[in-house]
Every structure is written in C-alpha cells, then in structure tokens.
C-alpha cells in the first residue's frame, strides 16, 4: 500500500477549499465531511427518498435496502455479531441516555451501584445521575492518577463493591488519553458488571472490534466520524439490548397497539421508534466506506507525527502548561498559557484563524480535579498537515507574546 498522502486525503473536503485560510483543530467537537458523504446524502434525496420499513412500494423498498445496508456497513466496521445489534439513534448523547434509562428496573434496582470515572464527558455522567437519583442507584467514581489517567488500582477496588454497570470513555475528549479499555472491560466483566463504552472519541481513532473488545455497549456519533449530524450508533450485545427499556415509543417499534395492550417489535426496531434519520444513516455509512479506502495504521502514524511535531514545538514556547500526555494519546492536546484564562488564549488564536475550543469541554468534574478553570484544546485529524501544526505553534507564540507584553 502506498504511503498516506495527506494532500490527496484533504482534497476530498470541500470545506478546506472554501476556508483555505483556517487551521481547523476542533476535530474533537466535530469533523469535516468528505465529498463522498455529501454526495451520498444528495443522491439519496434526489434518487431514492422514501420512508423505510413502511412501504408497499418499490421506492420505499429501495430506501429500506439502502438504510439496512448502512446498518450492515456499521455492523461489519465494528465487527458486531448481528445486524440487529446496531441501533441507529441521533447521537452518542441519545445512545447513553437510552442505556441509562433502559437499564433502570431491569438491570439496576434501588440500592445497586454503578461505576463511572472522573474524566467522563457530561453525556456519560448526567443521564446516569438523573436516573440513578430517581431510582436510588448509587454512583461511584474512579479517580485519576497524577498523570490524569484512570487509576486502575482504585478501579479494581471500586469494582470490588460490585457495581452492576460500569461506563467509561474509550478516549478522553479533553486529554486525548486512550484508556486501557480492553483491560477495563475484562476486569469489569470478571466483577460481573455490564460494560458501557462511550466511543464518541474512540471510534475515529481506531476501528473497534466488538467481538474482541467484548463490551456490552459501545456508542458513538456520526458527526465525529466524518459523517452527518443527527445520527449516532448504539451498539449492544443482543442479550443486553433485550433488557433495555425503550426510551422512545412510537411507530414501527411496536408490534400491535390497542388502548388495552401494546406489544413490542423485535430488535433493532424495538429501539428505533419513529422515522429514523435515513439520510443520516446513509451518510454515516458512506463515511465509513470512504474511510475504509485508507489504511488506518498509516492514518494513526500520520497523526502521531503531527502530535510529535506539536509537542516538540510547544517546548520552545514559554509558559505553556500542557495537561495531556503525549503517550497513548489519540491526537488531542489540552493546554493553557500560564496564569492566562483559556478564553483569552482561544480568542487570540481565533484572530489568527486557528480554530480550537476553549473551556471545560463538557467535562467539569475532570477540571475540578485538574484544578484549572479550563483549557484550550487542539484536536488533530487525519486531514491536518504539518503546516497546520506549525501555523498553530506560531500563533501560540504570538498569543503568548501579546498576553505577556
């Protein structure tokens, strides 16, 4: 296979032609979309638009085939055992809410415990908080080590309390740190817990293998994987999905309805009430198919190169406080300029057309433990170039200069 050609890769994103002056390093918030994805959506609306699983007519059947092929593309990408283990939903947040809601009263009873970690995104905290509070379930939280990684010793100790559910992110959306998910799943399963992985950041870093990883649930959003907004995936093992109480009820998820008695349809339909985001699913599947034309090892290499260059460059700028470690890092760097507020740093970068995010990145509990008011976050994607890295470094230097003048 030829080497990874970043220019060829980048050319497929019309965005960079439209906004050539920008350095986009906010990839952990959302990614840009290759033309293949935009074309798939356009094509669907222009040629095949119809509702799915409802039609007596061939147009609807065609749309259904495309929609179900999208499910199959996702299933084989993450190596799910069955097609019906892929539930389409509106995003990672929706998926995590479905899981938290759906496990109450089935897997989780009052007095039971669940286990989260200190570095979770709010989407993997608040849904649990709300439902656990209502249902009397106790939440334990795995603390972090001094290196801002999940403390595996504490993890094992907390597992000994017998949580029924353990939920953690594959990759921290703030720090970029890759968690030892395989090991964490293994330990959790040995302790008899249901395992949930928030793969919102993990999915774009590597192609996760559900059967090998052996977790019970894995969720992600399409828009962080080169795909459209408004679509996400809830993967679950069959027997786990069977336990899930649907958070949405409505058309096509029931088998029969009367005002006396209603019975549910089978998976995946039981968990996909209403008209799904058909174009969204097709767009996501186009993203995955497109991505598979590239060698992910080479992409990872390319991203490590960017990261290495970035870390290297940072050492030459005074007063930079780096929160992310460069080891086991998926391409996200959180940092501050000493004693400056991240909002100021981000604004000055913005003036130089470097797009980063600043703040607490929907991970307040992490920041309360990092004891910083926030950070700016530079998150790199495969379409970023060494030039992007250098422009960002230069802009940071300029920023520090202005702030400390």
């Amino acid at each position: 296979m030829p080497a990874f050609d970043v220019q060829q890769f980048r050319q497929q994103f019309a965005f960079f032609q439209q906004q050539p002056e920008w350095v986009y390093l906010d990839n952990a918030a959302t990614m840009h979309k290759p033309q293949a994805v935009i074309d798939a959506i356009t094509q669907f609306y222009q040629h095949y638009n119809s509702n799915v699983h409802r039609g007596a007519h061939q147009l609807s059947q065609q749309a259904t085939i495309l929609f179900e092929q999208a499910r199959s593309t996702v299933a084989s990408y993450i190596n799910a055992q069955h097609l019906h283990e892929i539930i389409f939903c509106s995003g990672a947040t929706a998926a995590l809410n479905q899981i938290a809601f759906g496990l109450m009263h089935t897997v989780l009873q009052p007095g039971d415990r669940i286990l989260l970690t200190q570095l979770e995104h709010h989407a993997n905290i608040v849904p649990w908080q709300l439902h656990c509070q209502r249902h009397g379930v106790i939440i334990d939280v795995v603390p972090l080590t001094a290196e801002h990684r999940i403390d595996l010793v504490a993890y094992e100790q907390l597992l000994a309390l017998g949580p029924k559910v353990v939920s953690f992110s594959h990759i921290s959306n703030v720090l970029g740190h890759i968690q030892p998910v395989a090991e964490m799943v293994r330990l959790a399963k040995a302790a008899g817990a249901v395992t949930v992985i928030d793969g919102a950041q993990g999915i774009v870093y590597q192609q996760p293998d559900m059967q090998q990883l052996d977790c019970d649930f894995y969720v992600f959003s399409g828009h962080k994987l080169y795909g459209p907004t408004g679509i996400g995936v809830l993967y679950g093992k069959t027997e786990q999905l069977e336990h899930l109480t649907p958070i949405f009820a409505g058309g096509e998820m029931i088998d029969s309805v009367s005002f006396i008695n209603t019975s549910f349809n089978k998976l995946p339909f039981r968990l996909e009430a209403g008209t799904p985001n058909i174009a969204g699913a097709i767009g996501l599947s186009a993203a995955i198919e497109w991505l598979q034309k590239y060698n992910n090892k080479q992409i990872i290499q390319h991203k490590s190169l960017l990261l290495k260059e970035f870390y290297n460059g940072l050492t030459f700028i005074k007063g930079i406080d780096i929160l992310s470690s460069h080891v086991h890092n998926a391409g996200i760097v959180a940092l501050n300029v000493d004693s400056e507020h991240p909002a100021d740093v981000a604004e000055l970068l913005n003036q130089q057309q470097i797009a980063v995010r600043s703040g607490q990145h929907c991970a307040m509990p992490l920041f309360s433990c990092l004891a910083r008011p926030g950070a700016i976050r530079c998150s790199f994607a495969a379409y970023n170039t060494l030039d992007d890295v250098n422009r960002c470094l230069l802009a940071l230097e300029q920023t520090v200069e202005i702030l400390t003048a």
Partner: protein
C-alpha cells in the same frame, strides 16, 4: 381438520405448482399475467382453518398476517410445512417458496437460498428487506425450524 390432513392436501398442490405453474410464471408475457398466476397459486393452496390459527403460528409482516405450521419427520429428517396468508399475492409467493423447501432435510433447509431461486424466477424484487414484506419474515421463521 388436523395438521396431517392439511399436509396431505398441500402436497399435490405443491407438486402441481412445481410441474406447471413455475414455468407459467417464468413465461408470463406481462406482469398482469404473472400476477394472475400468483393469485391462482394462493387460491389453490389449502387454507389453514380459522380455528387452527393459534397466535404462536402467526408470522407478521407489516401489512398482512400469515401463519405457518411445521412438521418434522424425525425418521427421514424431512421438514414439511403448511401456510396461509391474508393477502393473495403474498400467499402465492409463499406457495412458490413452499414448493421449493417442502420435504427438505435439516441440512438442505439451512443451506437453502431463497434469493437465488427467486432470482431465477424473476421474483427477487419481492424479497426486499422491508418488514412490509411478509415473505422475508416467513423465510426466517422457516429457517428457525431447522435449529
């Protein structure tokens, strides 16, 4: 009426379909002709009496209901079926499928590829993945019988 009787009544019908109607369908000059044959097949296939249509026999498509009864001859390891549907065209399609699978052994049934067969008969479009289509549901119900 018993399952045995139904099976006995169904057998010659299936034979006739195989010997005569499949060719008719393949050679139909237009879709109207093809559908006329399909509906005749549906009519020819013995109906399951209302009283015997127990809820557990129900195979649901989105638009019409169908029922399946199964008999496994352990001695010969052969599977036999009787089926019925509310909708005439779907019943006709199911009749064709039935005459392909009836009497298969467990292994044959597991390996059976309806898609391929229907393709030969130019009937593949009716095997969509849409839940609307009761036929797909029927095939997977039949496949479960060999487990």
């Amino acid at each position: 009426m018993t399952l045995e009787q139904l099976l006995a009544d169904t057998k010659p019908v299936l034979l006739d379909i195989q010997q005569r109607n499949l060719a008719e369908i393949e050679q139909a000059r237009d879709w109207q002709a093809k559908y006329r044959v399909l509906m005749q097949l549906g009519k020819k296939l013995p109906a399951i009496p209302e009283k015997m249509k127990q809820p557990e026999l129900l195979v649901k498509g989105c638009e019409s209901r169908a029922w399946l009864m199964h008999y496994h001859d352990k001695a010969t390891d052969k599977h036999y079926f009787v089926l019925d549907s509310e909708a005439r065209i779907v019943k006709g399609l199911m009749a064709i499928m039935l005459c392909l699978v009836n009497g298969m052994t467990t292994t044959e049934l597991c390996q059976f590829d309806l898609c391929h067969k229907f393709d030969q008969l130019n009937l593949k479009p009716y095997l969509s993945q849409s839940r609307g289509n009761g036929l797909t549901a029927m095939v997977s119900r039949i496949k479960q019988c060999c487990k």
